[in-house]
Assembly symmetry: C2
Homo-oligomer: 353 residues x 2
């Protein structure tokens, strides 16, 4: 079943309004959430709307947060999200980073007391219209075992970097620091398909192809595979530390779960989950026109590289941009399970999808 | 054969003096270079001394550079390295970033017109004694094929992040964005050993175990392996863009080779190779004592995690720190080939190792 973007937007916005979000927050939360559906990251989009509602019902999401800057210097700030939706807290913090960059050249904002913020790329891309480079990191509930570990200590902790170009579309990297984003496993689970070996380990550290192995004490593996998972572990750890140890959020095994049926760990070491945002004005380094002309050259050089027959070299962000064009025109396909789930959410608020 | 650190230091310092470096520059270049030997990154240490000498002989390294800040804002700067040794240009730029961080909270310095800067981690770690987080990136000559490509367009483009702790040793990530650093392949070559499959591709994109395959038109592969090399490609690309497109250095296929017997590409798109450094004052976000206490907790939690029998969970930087202690005490082992090579370098300057 396929739905027009505008229809899903109106529905999700009404649900957020039903939770008590202000008009501005409901619109922002919806735009952030649906950017995932547009970009083809189906796991992080409207399919998760019911998850946010359940967290709100469990009083773990505050629909009317008082977002506050609790510490700052010319180029940095710490934001307390007041247990609000990460979908709203993230853009607030990114806009603050953009303002800092205007005067200081760069802006770096660590966020505590937040919740899941959708796709990392949405936030990073907010910098692009200002001729700025955007960076977006977040920690997430523990599903990943560090190299040699049998315990889950890290989330899929994504890294996104958005870099403006001139005539070419922007470079937008948005990647989990694991072999695969958890959302990919959720999709395999919904479709009853096995995962590739090396993505997942069982409770004893052996390969597993069961996408729900984490429910049996298993774990996702860091990016890098057999001879390099220490690199993915190191990247995921860096994201965790910048997002949470720097901001005063929960880190490592203390990050609260996204699903409302699991309780947050006892004895938290901080507040909520953490994000980290960075913004750099291009012309704090080099005239913007010069930079963008060289970015165009960079992108064209890579895109035109000699490739394996039948393939071509892609620029980070290419598949997601093409998907956005297609879905804005032809609609967003949703699995039956997701449509049924949205139906239940609608009933809760007297809404029809 | 094993050599005391002080003996190698005196020798390398004399070689840099012989090239015409100032006392300060010779000492700095030696300290940067030998930090690789101490940390067990044998490929990037004194084994490369002859490489720097040959670049200087070829007039591609300027032993008396006029290092200059060519652009700046409160939190950013661009440094022109005047074709100097990256071993010297890097610490100059990092110190500038540290100064910026003192007043603006953070400092971000892009560098153009430089040369190979040794190990990324040395530079990042310069931030640690100041209770600052250090970040160090560099591009390098093209050896890596982006996902699906048959051409070498990226270097092994490392990422290093150094984060101070309290009673625990600092967290120091230092990783190539490839399946393996080129230095590891150089070591396999010196020892006549094959590389693991998946590290390297031949000129047609097939797996190869030949560590010198890049000389036959092959390429190193980005971090991530079969199902995830687009992630390593994206990270390596980000390092290239921040290091070179932002600073005005050469990027992608235009990055000049380290080896003097290969000519730099014609029609350069910038000057020399590029680096990118970042420094963040911890207390620009949160009181340093608080941060460091939580870092200690983070480190202890991960180190004590339940592990695969016979293994333990390491913190990034652990192996290199232990290696440093051992080599300061017991000396630095060098392969016969390297000792012979250093002997020739010594003769060039009338020095004995």
């Amino acid at each position: 079943m396929t739905f027009a973007y505008s229809r899903l937007f109106a529905f999700a916005e009404a649900v957020f309004r039903g939770m008590g979000c202000s008009e501005d927050h409901a619109r922002q939360a919806t735009e952030t959430l649906l950017s995932a559906d547009l970009r083809g990251v189906d796991s992080h989009g409207v399919a998760r709307l019911s998850g946010y509602v359940r967290l709100w019902e469990a009083r773990r999401v505050n629909a009317t947060p008082a977002l506050a800057v609790v510490h700052e210097t010319p180029s940095t700030a710490v934001v307390d999200g007041d247990a609000g939706l990460g979908l709203v807290v993230g853009p607030y913090a990114m806009r603050l980073a953009i303002e800092k960059a205007r005067t200081a050249g760069t802006g770096w904002v660590a966020v505590r007391n937040s919740n899941h913020y959708g796709i990392a790329g949405y936030h990073a891309m907010l910098a692009l219209p200002h001729d700025m480079i955007g960076i977006s990191l977040t920690n997430a509930s523990p599903l990943v075992a560090p190299t040699y570990a049998l315990e889950r200590l890290l989330g899929t902790n994504p890294i996104s970097v958005a870099i403006p170009a001139g005539e070419q579309p922007a470079f937008v990297l948005d990647m989990a620091t694991t072999t695969a984003a958890n959302g990919k496993l959720e999709i395999l689970e919904r479709k009853n398909l096995p995962a590739p070996a090396s993505w997942i380990q069982d409770r004893d550290g052996n390969d597993s192809t069961n996408p729900t192995e984490t429910k049996n004490g298993g774990a996702l593996r860091p990016l890098g595979g057999e001879t390099g998972s220490h690199k993915g572990y190191g990247l995921g750890a860096t994201v965790d530390i910048l997002s949470a140890v720097l901001s005063g959020a929960n880190y490592g095994p203390w990050v609260p779960p996204f699903v409302a049926f699991l309780q947050p760990p006892a004895n938290p070491v901080g507040a909520g989950i953490g994000h980290f945002f960075g913004v750099m004005r291009v012309d704090a380094f080099r005239p913007a026109d010069e930079f963008k002309a060289h970015m165009d050259n960079w992108i064209q050089t890579f895109r035109q590289a000699k490739a394996v027959p039948g393939q071509q070299v892609l620029i980070p962000g290419d598949p997601e941009r093409l998907m956005t064009e297609q879905r804005l025109t032809h609609g967003i396909p949703l699995l039956e399970k997701v449509v049924a789930d949205l139906g239940s959410v609608g009933e809760r608020f007297g809404l029809v999808l």
